[in-house]
């Protein structure tokens, strides 16, 4: 993947496939500690402990179209390449939490990329609420779709006009907290 945000999108897709209705995405760009930390947590159906043991094996997948599942394996490969790690915790009926850590200034680290596009792609799915928190050192930005739905007075925010507005909203705020680094 060319951007880390594409890996994150892939993990969010997993959550949606697992029937999650609430997803938390947390990004921490901790430049002072030279760390990039990403957490994706959902309330989906969870993964049984047997599957969880081998989950990062590319030949373990729940998909039915073929026997290869590369999402987590690719994300882990990127983390390892950047002196980091990928950790996945899950409990059946409760949900799953994926944590990915990388060295911030590692030369092999792909750019974070267009997080705003990843978030609105996820929001296309009706019935998913999402909290997106992004830290850049001590500054932070938070988007909670429950708040958006409340303001709009509708549960239906998966339409192009609203999503494009949210995209620009995220983009502007990320630019603001990072001092223009995005």
């Amino acid at each position: 993947m060319r951007e880390i945000s594409l890996h994150i999108m892939d993990i969010i897709e997993n959550s949606i496939t697992a029937n999650a209705t609430f997803i938390e995405v947390k990004i921490k760009e901790n430049i002072l500690d030279n760390l990039l930390i990403m957490k994706i947590k959902d309330n989906g159906k969870g993964i049984d402990s047997e599957t969880l043991k081998n989950i990062k094996d590319p030949f373990v997948t729940s998909r039915t179209t073929r026997k290869v599942g590369l999402g987590l394996s690719l994300f882990e490969a990127t983390c390892l390449r950047c002196n980091g790690y990928l950790d996945i915790k899950s409990e059946l009926g409760v949900g799953t939490e994926v944590t990915a850590v990388m060295e911030y200034n590692n030369i092999d680290r792909p750019p974070l990329g267009k997080m705003e596009e990843t978030i609105i792609s996820a929001l296309l799915n009706p019935g998913v609420d999402l909290v997106y928190e992004h830290y850049y050192n001590e500054k932070s930005f938070l988007l909670d779709t429950r708040e958006v739905k409340k303001i709009l007075g509708t549960e239906e925010i998966n339409t192009p006009d609203i999503l494009i507005w949210i995209k620009d909203y995220i983009k502007e705020n990320l630019k603001e907290i990072s001092g223009g680094a995005f």
Binding site: L6, T118, G153, N173, E176
Partner: protein, 133 residues
Amino acid sequence: MKTLKELEEIRQKTLDRVNQRKDRTTTRIVVGMATCGIAAGARPVLLAVMEEVEKLGLTDVTVAQTGCIGLCKMEPIVEVFKPGEEKVTYVKMDADKARRIVAEHIRDGKVVDEYTMHVVQGKILNDYKAEKE
């Protein structure tokens, strides 16, 4: 800078549309978004579809995403479901092709043949020229 308060401005528009949509049949545009699709560039395609739908002011259109369609080497894949018509599958999409589909197929009702999937002698191709020859 944008604040959430601005959302109030598009609120009425949204409510009108929601009411309108209830008694209409909508066209669905579905983009494949599994690992294969994402790696092949499905996200810019999805964004282009959304932006073009918004730009052309098409209201009776739903943009959605799905998992692996099962044809990873042809990704990014876009499927168009128009009410009462057969499903059309577009393969190896990019943002420009996606915008053309929204304008020509969704708005004008003309299928963009050269981007659709073709089967030649049992082999799936999307080479429009080869099929014509």
